[in-house]
Amino acid sequence: MDRMPAWADVVLIPLISLILAAILSALAILAIGESPAEAFYLMVDGALMRSSGWGYTLYYATNFIFTGLAVSVAFHAKLFNIGGEGQAALGGLGVALACLYIPWPHWSLALLGSAVGAAAFGALWALIPAYLQAKRGSHIVITTIMFNFIAAALLNYLLVNVLRPVGAMEPASASFAAATHLPTFQSMFSSEGNTLFRGSPANITFFIALIACVFVWLLIWRSKLGYEIRSQGYSESGAKYAGISPSRIIIIAMLISGALSGMMGVNATQGAAGRLILNSAEGAGFIGIAVALMGRNHPFGVLLASLLFGFLYQGGAELAMWTSIPRELIIVIQALVILFTGALDNMVRWPLEALFARLRKKEA
């Protein structure tokens, strides 16, 4: 079978999938008696036409970049890391411990410390399933899923019994000291008399996410380790023949993957909430899977897909606020996008491949 041109694979297929998802969403909105055009306008207006909207879009996107990169790094080694949620939750815990128990003099040092904490905790949480896969053959999909639940239970225990300030009702840690607060986009980009990104949670972590994209690109395509990871992904027996230890690659790839997921905690826990809350990962670990699928496991694709999902999240919030579209339908819209771009990829791919094959035959 002839391959399609690269641009069709990278641009055309996601675009057609998106349009299909948008058409179905529009039908669903019509069916409950709202105007799809108005809904689309509200989403665009709320997410992209104001700096405060961008602040939320970029905040969500930052989370998705980290978890999306995490999934794609593991995927290059043919490991399906579904445990991003748990690893991100543990990353949040690492951030919280670093911020609560170390008296940081300045936010830049606190950022370094909490990033190390987040990456270490996330990586360690991924290490156990990785070890079980590498040495015991327990399937990584099953173990990482189960570790999500263990992480949720562990965090709940810690927040209810250990970290919660006495007398507080909410299962959340105390607020972090002011010195650990990261600069938000509002404080970074506002000038006197012109407040930008007002009240939005986007913060300096966004730039760390961009750096992480570059780092992952260098790692996968420009380093020896990345070559080994990709070799393992293409063919484990081939890699083994070339002297690459599969168990070593499994463990290293999962450690990097877990560390990237954990880094999400810097954005959500230190940057936005300023304390550790229950469910701090908020499903971003799972969205990361869709982001990685849609972004074709390439950092730049992950970045674009993250922006799209950030837009969907923020636009969805605007819809919930100003229309009577119920939140369940907004989840349906988000799910349609995931379904078409991720799961139903071949539905668009096969006809397109056939089309390109026919075009090529004609040329010949």
Binding site: A37, Y41, Y157, E170, G316, A320, M321, I331
Partner: protein
């Protein structure tokens, strides 16, 4: 062309939407459990709906879907001039504390949450004495039980729910010191509020252990608890809203938490809302037990008299119901 006009008209509607909502209507933000949980959030919705019907007023509401939306929704409503902005659930305390100072002209209301009134003069914290109401339904459970075992199914294992369980156990032990109280929590993450299947399994396990009165304080999970209790011909006790109608004959009563009244009161006060901290207990009719045509045959005169007597004594201070959240311990139940 038609698409263009459609888009323009949509844009115009969007603008109109922004323009018309600058009046001082109240706004209501539900917690993650959602508007139609047949319990806590729905009570708020019912209170708001009743207020709108009675006064002809209108209100705007939103069901949030993520933690980051808490502050976002608060700011969104405050910026458009909605007043007061009412929230349900204790998780709104910190977001309100973060936001309130930026909008000094808007009043915020947190139901179940607590925001220090000294720091934020434009916030009203409405708290309920759930322990007192749970104590009364615990007494009813203790008097009704034939097996000498009653039980409790909580939603997510958090201090607030332990407060319900602790009050319930104290009430049951007040009428029968030898009674056995079983307590189970559905889960440790927020999905525990919406897991009727697991609630049903826990209920079956409790019935197998001999429990014949089961108090559910678990949001939508409680629907599974009450259903299973009715299926096994034992008694269920509802929570927050009056849930007696769900299974007539098998619902002993419901522990009322009058979130609806708190919401309606705040909406009636409007921009003139009196801020500070309000604790609604038995004395204020903020909590209580439900009596209606569905359970009139189940509650005998003696039971009612005993409960009314205890209610009066709690109000006068003669009976002190221990509040779990005061020191994170419970004399009547171990978790």
């Amino acid at each position: 062309m038609t698409l263009m006009t459609k888009f323009l008209s949509a844009a115009a509607t969007g603008l109109a939407l922004a323009a018309t909502s600058a009046v001082a209507d109240p706004a209501l933000i539900y917690d993650l459990g959602g508007k139609f949980d047949k319990s806590f959030n729905e009570a708020a919705f019912n209170g708001a709906t009743k207020w709108a019907e009675d006064t002809g007023g209108s209100f705007k509401d939103i069901e949030i879907t993520s933690e980051a939306q808490r502050e976002q929704a608060l700011r969104g409503f405050a910026e458009k001039g909605f007043n007061p902005v009412i929230t349900t659930g204790f998780s709104f305390s910190t977001p309100i504390a973060n936001v309130a100072a930026d909008y000094p002209d808007i009043n915020f209301v947190t139901i179940d949450g607590f925001v220090d009134p000294a720091e934020h003069p434009n916030v009203l914290s409405v708290l309920f004495s759930e322990a007192e109401g749970s104590y009364l339904v615990g007494m009813l459970a203790g008097m009704e039980s034939k097996t000498g075992t009653v039980s409790f199914v909580g939603g997510m294992d958090i201090p607030l729910i332990r407060k319900f369980a602790c009050g319930y156990a104290q009430g049951a032990k007040a009428v029968n010191p030898d009674i056995k109280v079983i307590s189970n929590m559905t889960g440790t993450d927020p999905s525990a509020w919406n897991d009727p299947v697991k609630g049903s399994e826990l209920t079956k396990a409790q019935v197998d252990q001999g429990s014949d009165v089961i108090f559910a304080a678990a949001g939508a999970t409680g629907l599974g608890v009450l259903q299973t209790a009715a299926d096994n011909k034992v008694f269920g006790i509802g929570v927050d809203s009056n849930q007696n109608y769900l299974h007539p004959g098998n619902m002993l009563t419901s522990m009322l938490k009058r979130v609806d009244l708190a919401v309606a009161d705040a909406m009636t006060a409007g921009a003139d809302l009196e801020t500070g901290v309000h604790v609604l207990g038995l004395a204020q009719d903020g909590v209580g037990y439900a009596m209606d045509e569905y359970n009139a045959d189940l509650i005998t005169e003696e039971m009612k008299a005993a409960v009314e007597d205890a209610k009066a004594k709690i109000i006068s201070g003669e009976i002190l119901v221990h509040d779990y959240t005061a020191d994170d311990t419970c004399p009547a139940l171990s978790f």
